[in-house]
């Protein structure tokens, strides 16, 4: 039985992932901005699956708090899953730097900051698994995902680099690039059913990815090929497309 730390535990994907790991009898540490919201989830996991659970306050964009947050954990995790993320319409962000900055701070800077701290500890111990939920939106820059996509691109690259740094030290890094997922983040969007995963599918894919020590997973296999095609479009053409 290992100890799983979930960062951004109020998200729909996090709830599903926590339930999957708890169902496999792992203890769960839930971290997020809002403790009140995490408390029902804590008892839920405990009652349904009989595992130990605890909640911790964590704010991804409060970088200074990251070190004390991690050193304050009573028990260090064996697996950390970084789920938090932030997305607003790019039209809004284009005229409002605060929103754009928030997307960069949460999706990239905050994630890099906390995962670097945790990776250091894992490297010292010589084991541990780091899971980062990035996005296919980071595979190629486009107007409809300008700030969100580039922040996720930074995060994906960070995860690749971290994997390279930690591989020889017994620490594994898994990048998760879900295509569309039905969650709060996308509740107002009209998503194509066939390309859209349920949070439970993401949770299961993450669990399997950790078990099999995968490097990158896409949840729905089509996404890997879709992104290959999108990446192969020549830039002179791509820049004129309305994507």
């Amino acid at each position: 039985m290992s100890n799983i730390l979930i960062l951004g535990a109020t998200s729909d994907i996090a709830v599903a992932t926590a339930r999957k790991f708890a169902a496999e009898k792992h203890d769960i540490q839930l971290a997020g901005r809002n403790i009140e919201n995490l408390l029902p989830l804590k008892t839920d996991l405990n009652v349904r699956f009989g595992v130990n659970t605890d909640v911790f306050k964590f704010d991804a964009s409060d970088f200074k708090s990251h070190k004390p947050f991690y050193s304050g954990l009573p028990k260090k995790p064996d697996v950390v899953i970084c789920v938090f993320g932030y997305m607003v319409e790019e039209e809004i962000a284009g005229d409002n730097w605060e929103e754009a900055e928030k997307m960069i701070n949460v999706n990239f800077t905050g994630a890099a900051s906390i995962l670097n701290i945790i990776a250091k500890d894992f490297e010292e111990k010589g084991n541990g698994v780091i899971v980062g939920i990035s996005s296919v939106a980071g595979e190629r820059g486009r107007q409809s995902k300008l700030f969100y996509g580039s922040a996720k691109a930074g995060f994906s690259t960070f995860l690749d680099g971290l994997r390279n740094r930690t591989a020889s030290k017994g620490v594994h890094v898994l990048s998760v690039k879900p295509g569309f997922v039905y969650t709060k983040m996308t509740s107002e969007l009209d998503l194509p059913g066939i390309l859209t995963a349920k949070p439970e599918q993401v949770g299961k894919a993450i669990y399997n990815g950790v078990q099999k020590r995968k490097n990158t997973i896409y949840v729905k296999w089509m996404w890997k090929w879709i992104m290959l095609i999108i990446k192969s479009i020549p830039e002179p053409l791509f820049k004129k497309m309305n994507l």
Binding site: T10, D12, V15, N34, E36, N37, P40, L41, T43, D44, V47, R48, F49, G50, K184, S187, E188, L189, D190
Partner: protein
Amino acid sequence: MKKKVTNWGNYPVIHVEEKQFSFQNELSEINHIKGNIIARGLGRCYGDASLGDNIISTLKFDKVLSFSKETGEIECESGVSLADILDFSVPSGWFLPVTPGTKFVTVGGAVASDVHGKNHHVEGSFSNHVIHIKILLSNGEIVICGPNSNKELFEATCGGMGLTGLIISVKFKLKQIETAYISQKQIKANNLEEIINLFQEHKEATYSMAWIDCLKKGRNFGRSILMVGEHAKKSEIKKKDPLILPSKMKLSIPFNFPGFILNTFSIKSFNFLYYHKNTKRTIENIIPYEPFFYPLDSILNWNRMYGKNGFVQYQFVLPLENSHKGLIDILTRISKKGMGSFLAVLKLFGKQESLISFPMEGFTLALDFPIKKGLFEFLNELDKVVLNYGGRIYLTKDARMNSEVFWNSYPNINQFLSIVNKYNPEFKYSSLQSKRLISPKLS
């Protein structure tokens, strides 16, 4: 974004905004939604009870808040399903106090329809086991109500079809079991009279219901199979841990309906039970609880076989003294018309005192009608017959009854509405069903 939403009968189909919420701190937004709102759980009501101008889905509000293995008391958010509860409660020796014929309903839905199970005649309906309910009223207040506090709100919420507000959480008591198995008995009845007598004879059985052949005419009119059951005792099960079901056993069903055409198959399995072992009038065996309570749940989406026009389920109850006569009358009309499903579920309810819930002492029959030309006219005719015998129609299955019939068959309707009026004065919470059944009478 508008979404296509429809309940179990696939009729009616609407396009509406559906809002989800996951946490208590989002509740304040709900009452700010413009227009009418109605709660929706797993959409297992058949018609339009959980459809409306704006739908509040409770499915993400699904955390179990407490559970005592000592007392069996459990509290959960309204979007938790009965299936979820069984998953952890059965292995620790606790079962649902009352369960409908599918486990894919939410706790909120179970309260709002005040659902009944095969044990109604001995253990009542779901609300009889509720300790308290937390409910969000249309003025934004969150109130606790139960049999001992805010009693009128509690009574109007149980069976109130979501019209008093949004049920946030429910605390209720589970029932203790020794094993995850049911010791069941199936008994053949050659006609209606026999099955009615069999029900009376087995009044002591904890669980009972019957499948009845709606089309058989003549001597075997109303032939049926009664199914009675008890939770099996530890001593009856030769397993290491009798509270755990081997996972593959969950799917092996004696009354097994495969995915394709349910009707053909149910005919086959009914006939199998009826003729194949016809040397025996009674079959007794011990089976896992799932096939006993939820024979249809293993075929996901069996409701789609009725095609894209959908179907309605017609469930009525008749007072005991009129049940025999009334059933003959109604079954004769149905078989003459040839519109109904071959099989129907028959059950004997016990006494029930309640404000607006469906059950009353007497026989209840439920059968499916695929929607086609002339059906609604025919059902209007049946409504009148049901009304004449002093019976009523189950709201959670209804999609088409007219308000006159409703008003004349639920005797406490005025009292119910005066309570709704107090807590939901502008009908902020209202469904397509309440607009059909209640609004015409108010204007």
